[in-house]
Symmetry: C2
Subunit: 578 residues, 2 copies
């Protein structure tokens, strides 16, 4: 009855403990490198069966149907900016010779967001290489009253990085130089257009890691990460960019260069101006360089993916097991309170988090969750296989620490406790680089799977932990068959729910059923209607659900102070109506 | 020849390792509670021989000679604010009945900084209890053009919390209520006047700690901590308040209440307005409530104080050992490369830090250093005893973690490595609450010892690690006998040097020898002329050494936007001259 490759509980735990005591490394691995998404660095996923392309470039022009222009879908009117003229193009060619892009085909991708939900009609994209070139461009556009759309990797979730009308696109793609790295302090200084994954590789070769990690790492630019105050997968451990970004260089709307590119951990001289630009989504200035504190690279990383056993081990109708999934280590299959549920409900997920945080302490580096619908979609659209039996929820736990034996022992104790108390009944552990990437891919590629499921209505909410998942169930009941899928996943350790609803195509009636309901529900919990994605174009009008009128007023004043003509990323972040 | 209570190297290391292997807790302790300064919670120091009073109230009126009024010592002119009239007092009495203080004796302490370096002449102090009272006060003062000096614990280092002329003092002392605490997330929401130590006690009883810790904890207010972006002793581990403060409630200059008191870890809805007020030293608004993320309380804390053996164990002329110092654990006395040097130079201190960070990783919670002159002063003025033999430098290392056995093993391995490589040759470890407090007192009470040495010229610099101590030597040579003491200590792990010079009394010529030399030297290293103390009144004119003119310009614009009449904490933070 027992598959030969599945160690049962006592043998497994014995092995684990033995490894800990002897200082062996059976269940921990060395740091595996930057990319957790199979395919982002290669032609196809190591586990999945579908080719994967980086965000920001995958969805440009080839696929039908064409995306509706933003002003045709959303009620937005062009503000009275100037229109780019031939004279303007000639003048800009003087600033960035050979790097003024006007070819309509080349402009298709940067006019469209990777989710294929908003599309602008910009006629020109500029590719500066230096801060001075950015300053010249902005000075010119400011004088000419030309609107400017700063763009990094174009991986945003809220339509913040694509033009709404004909804004000049200012791309940071060629500003991709590392300026300095201090190998004692771990301070990296680089241009804004460096791709996060490339930076990760760079600092890992020097014994450090980037303090942030995102599914979009293969495409997103560090300047864009900072401009949107990106959260991501390491937030739980290393905190916000507001703490890890040490300095910024920013070009203001009128072309003034604001050099606050310090590399010091502490600097209390005057107002911390860089904070104005972190998370301001390009509406207050264009970030041209970033100084960021990188934590030392952990010497050991473990990943546990928790849930009941894979169906292929249990039921007669199970599909054949994919190769490579059955290797050690796996948690035991017995002790399940009932055969169908590993985490029988969200309350158990929360209790697992509490237990985990208490027992893993300072080595806990991620606590992610996804529901059964997410698993269904990554299976369906990406060909990924669930490594454990079906369950209403799945949990991914990562530890990162400096003592491989200690970390393994702590994780083992936690898992034993979680099993003994019935919080989880099965799971699988990452024991090598490939397996850890596979486990992370299940969580990281949900966004990609959703985008293949149809039009996606995306909500990124901060909520009190005990209510984090309630809205998902509410919405399933509310929407019924009008939605294709309603899924919930996210950074549970940060109180951050990614709630996504898919449908075959965009539908105003479905949108009407979702909004303002989702926002009102969130506001009722004193939550945030944008935890980490920002507001961009698509969420700008819901700011008031999370901030009082006095705050909106002050934000408008700040915008007016820093960008009096409003040329920087217009139609974004601040609500249309006063 | 060997004192009976000092285990030598092999026996000690054997014990340490045995404890680690067996999971015993010989060299680690449970968390010891909030106060590391002996005497701040009681009548006298547990180790020292001098009574200690909390900052902010110790130096008021009783001690001679009287401190010179600020405008008599510094070139500053009163701005054309109104003067508080009898009608004003009557109106304010309506707002905070029974809490309008005008008694000259009662006003002496809040008019004077605890370092006795600046003194104002305010005629009225207000003690609101609620945000609404603060709003009424500011609305009134704004209308009447009365300048306002917000004041928390009055523990600042740069004259930022005392009036310069006759500003109305707005005290947060009665705003000391905890508003909520979430025991799952560790989010504390409280009024701005809560004393840091009281908050520490509150959250520790619930299994958490405050993310910051200061020598002034017994007096300072959390609102003041946030307003100055205080760094302190846990910065290395838990980072800046810019990351751990989740929300603020602030009253603007005109009385508008800005409620951004969220308890969410992530919230990317609009500009992060609270960042404007963190570190703005009361010049942009008055913080009335704080939401802050508290980390879980570590289950084990270890402290190592490193240096050569105590003289009483070695030389014939050593003083008698103070009682209580000789208990275990101590590091062994042999293996010294030469008898007089434990950390023979600063290069060894830096290498100790690198080794320590690599080997202790995520459990390292503090790496502090002090030079021999500091030790001399805490001995001389506070009666503290050096627990190890004299050395040019001393290092205090703290670990805090969730696995007592693991932590002890990691620390043991590090110490063994540091000893084997000759970086340090002796030291002592904290093995119980009292001892750990004693060891921390050596570092935390340096400020107090300095203040008893005479007039103190204080500099709080961020510098590149490899140049961190160079300026101290430079200054000793430069100043010669005109300075009583030139000392260097601080948060080495954060690149933060506290450079202090003492003299019998204030001397303009000594000041002239120090400034702008110190600032120019620091600017030459691209350092910060205020790492964590802020600028306040005394440092406001040196902002330009660390920030470019474009930044100063934007700071002035922000001040004008938020406080157009300039009534909030005038004469502070921004330079006098344009």
């Amino acid at each position: 009855m027992m598959p030969p490759l599945v160690p049962r509980w006592p043998a497994w735990l014995f092995c684990w403990r033995a490894a800990c005591i002897q200082g062996a490394s059976v269940r921990q691995r060395m740091w595996v490198g930057p990319s957790r998404i199979p395919g982002l660095g290669g032609p196809r996923g190591a586990w999945g069966t579908s080719p994967v392309a980086p965000r920001g470039s995958c969805s440009a022009s080839s696929r039908a149907p064409e995306v509706t222009l933003t002003p045709e879908r959303y009620p937005v009117r062009r503000l009275p900016f100037s229109v780019v003229s031939e004279d303007d193009l000639a003048a800009l060619e003087q600033v960035v010779p050979g790097r003024v892009v006007t070819d309509p085909e080349e402009l298709e991708a940067p006019n469209l967001d990777w989710l294929r939900t908003v599309r602008g009609s910009s006629k020109v994209l500029l590719r500066p290489r230096t801060t001075q070139e950015v300053a010249h461009i902005l000075r010119y556009c400011h004088e000419r009253n030309l609107a400017v759309n700063p763009q990094g990797g174009n991986t945003g979730m809220v339509g913040g990085s694509t033009p709404v009308f004909d804004e000049v696109i200012l791309s940071t793609a060629l500003m991709n130089q590392v300026l300095s790295f201090q190998d004692v302090s771990g301070v990296l200084v680089c241009q804004a257009g460096c791709v996060l994954e490339a930076l990760s590789q760079y600092v890992e070769e020097r014994g450090f890691i980037m303090p942030l990690d995102l599914g979009a790492k293969g495409s997103c630019h560090i300047g864009g990460n900072v401009a949107t105050n990106a959260g991501g997968l390491r937030f739980l451990r290393y905190g916000s960019l507001r703490g890890t970004v040490l300095g910024l260089e920013v070009v203001l709307a009128d072309g003034t260069v604001l050099n606050c590119l310090t590399s010091l951990r502490k600097d209390n001289t005057g107002y911390d101006l860089k904070q104005l630009f972190i998370g301001s989504e390009g509406t207050l200035g264009v970030i041209t360089a970033v100084s960021i504190l990188c934590p030392p690279k952990p010497s050991a990383v473990n990943v546990a993916f928790l849930g009941p056993p894979h169906p292929c081990r249990e039921g007669p109708s199970s599909p054949p097991c994919p190769p490579g999934l059955l290797g050690p280590p796996r948690l035991p299959a017995h002790r399940r309170p009932c055969s169908a549920s590993g985490c029988p409900g969200f309350a158990e997920v929360l209790q697992t988090f509490r237990t985990c945080r208490a027992m893993l302490g300072e080595i806990l580096s991620a606590f992610e969750f996804m529901d059964a619908e997410c698993m269904k979609l990554v299976r369906l659209h990406l060909g990924l296989s669930c490594p454990v039996q079906e369950s209403p929820f799945y949990v991914l736990i990562e530890t990162a620490g400096s003592g491989p034996g200690h970390d393994a022992e702590k994780l083992g104790c936690f898992l034993e406790q979680a099993l003994d108390s019935g919080l989880v009944t099965d799971g699988t552990l990452g024991s090598d680089e490939r397996r850890i990437k596979m486990l992370w891919a299940l969580r990281e590629r949900i966004t990609e799977a959703l985008s293949r499921d149809g039009y996606v209505y995306k909500y990124d909410l901060s909520l009190p932990l005990d209510r984090l998942y309630d809205l998902v169930g509410d919405l399933r009941a509310r929407l019924g068959p009008s939605a294709k899928h309603v899924v919930g996943y996210g950074h549970l350790g940060d109180g951050n729910l990614h709630l996504n609803v898919t449908a075959e195509t965009f539908s105003a009636s479905l949108l009407g059923a979702l909004e303002p309901y989702v926002y009102e529900w969130t506001a009722g919990q004193r939550g945030s209607v944008s935890a980490e994605h920002g507001l961009g174009f698509k969420k700008k009008d819901v700011l008031g659900y999370s901030k009082p009128p006095e705050a909106l007023q002050l934000m408008r004043q700040l915008k007016a102070l820093l960008d009096p003509k409003g040329i920087l990323n217009p139609y974004k972040m601040l609500p249309t109506h006063a």
